[in-house]
């Protein structure tokens, strides 16, 4: 059995760890509330944007807007939204496993978050060409951050460097559940949009102001901007939730460990006392 001093040292160190994880849990919890709120309040907008796009796209499909028009895919760009820091459970691992499974020579990546960058750089046959760009991730990100990424991708798309854009991120379901999502974004296909709840009223093609072409030119890039922005918010909310849960578990485990160690410490101490009494008693008997 370990000496009492050794056990005391371990208890102290585990308690310190628990304090740190507890603090990280609190920080993550407060960040989570903000990020969750932002991710959730954007959802109605996302839904209606889907609805508007959906009622617009089939009507003017014959116009063959480049963002709607699928072309043979030589190079598919995947926007990977991971986190900057670890200690958030299996969040990144799940995402990376899925990406690894789909990895192929036709893939190019754009990363957001440091974890994703180092993972993508470690993929087989990774060259400067497979990792197109790396954007930083901020807690208080704005729509313009999303737009910058989106415009970079759209530029590459219109110049023909890439033929399709996927988004890989974690979808925030609730504080306990985050789902890995890899979905195609560009070319925009009506079947990828969320089905609207309201009965679809077909819009007569004449009734677009200004012309359908101009409307599409305005709506589609914005649609991509918005989707990327929302994916970023979604990932942030997931990250903070996952970290909070991970840290909560860590704190609980540490507390349990402290309990076990305290029991062991008390046993060791009691044993020491018993032994001492025994020794004194033996010595006394020997003297008599």
């Amino acid at each position: 059995m370990a000496s009492t001093r050794e056990i005391r040292r371990r208890i102290r160190s585990v308690k310190n760890t628990a304090q740190i994880t507890k603090a990280m849990q609190m920080v993550a919890a407060s960040k989570m509330r903000r990020a969750q709120l932002r991710a959730l309040e954007g959802r109605p907008y996302q839904k209606l944007l889907d609805e508007v796009t959906q009622s617009l796209v089939p009507q003017v499909g014959q116009l063959r807007h480049p963002l709607l028009n699928p072309r043979p895919v030589r190079r598919r760009a995947v926007l990977v939204i991971s986190t900057d820091k670890g200690l958030c459970g299996s969040l990144n691992t799940n995402l990376f496993r899925e990406l690894f499974r789909r990895h192929g020579p036709d893939r190019a990546y754009v990363s957001v978050g440091r974890r994703g960058r180092s993972f993508l750089a470690s993929l087989p046959n990774s060259t400067g060409e497979t990792l197109l760009a790396d954007f930083e991730l901020r807690d208080n990100l704005t729509f313009r951050d999303g737009k910058r990424i989106s415009r970079f991708l759209l530029d590459k798309f219109s110049s023909g460097a890439i033929d399709a854009i996927d988004v890989a991120h974690t979808h925030f379901v609730n504080a306990l559940v985050q789902a890995t999502v890899i979905r195609p974004l560009v070319p925009i296909a009506p079947q990828n949009l969320a089905p609207s709840e309201a009965p679809a009223t077909p819009v007569v093609p004449d009734n677009f102001e200004p012309s359908p072409e101009e409307l599409l030119d305005a709506l589609l890039p914005f649609f991509v901007d918005w989707n990327i922005y929302q994916a970023l918010l979604d990932s942030l909310a997931s990250e903070h939730s996952a970290r909070m849960i991970a840290m909560k578990n860590a704190t609980e485990n540490a507390k349990e460990l402290v309990g076990d160690l305290t029991l062991e410490y008390n046993k060791a101490r009691q044993e020491g006392i018993t032994r001492e009494i025994l020794e004194i008693a033996t010595a006394q008997i020997a003297l008599e």
Binding site: L48, F143, R144, V203, N207, E209, P210
Partner: protein, 137 residues
């Protein structure tokens, strides 16, 4: 009489979802008044003044850029801003306008910043318009 269900949604959430008798919003090609049973239509929205009329009650909002989808019983308006008249702080808006105009005059902005500042300016002017008009009325 049928009514028009209006939904106004911004990135910050649903700002308005109620039935009204009539709505007026700033479309790209001029003010658009919408009554129930309007023909289905999709259009762009520019920064300006949105008016929702139900009987004697009149609600005025300042809206930013976005899109509107009209069907017979429903008007969906997506915008990057939707502020009720009473939410607008005139002094702050005037300040924002001043700053934006100064920035635009200096012309040292990148293309992207220029567009963002111009959009901010348009939004601020729309707010001011809503605020001023209804005080004098």
């Amino acid at each position: 009489m049928s009514s028009l269900h209006v939904e106004i949604v911004t990135p910050e959430g649903v700002r308005f979802a109620q039935d009204v008798e009539m709505a007026t919003f700033p479309g790209e090609e001029g003010e658009m008044g919408v009554y129930p049973n309007h023909e289905p239509l999709i259009t762009r929205v520019v920064p300006g003044e949105l008016v929702l009329q139900t009987g004697e009650e009149r609600k005025v909002l300042a809206v930013g850029e976005g899109f509107a989808k009209i069907s017979a019983a429903r008007l969906v308006l997506l915008s990057d801003m939707a502020l009720y008249e009473e939410e607008i702080e005139e002094a702050k808006v005037a300040e924002a306008i001043e700053r934006a105009q100064q920035a635009l005059r200096q012309k040292e902005l990148g293309e992207e910043e220029q567009a963002a500042t111009a959009a901010l300016l348009a939004r601020s002017l729309a707010q001011l318009k809503v605020k001023r008009r209804h005080r004098s009325a």
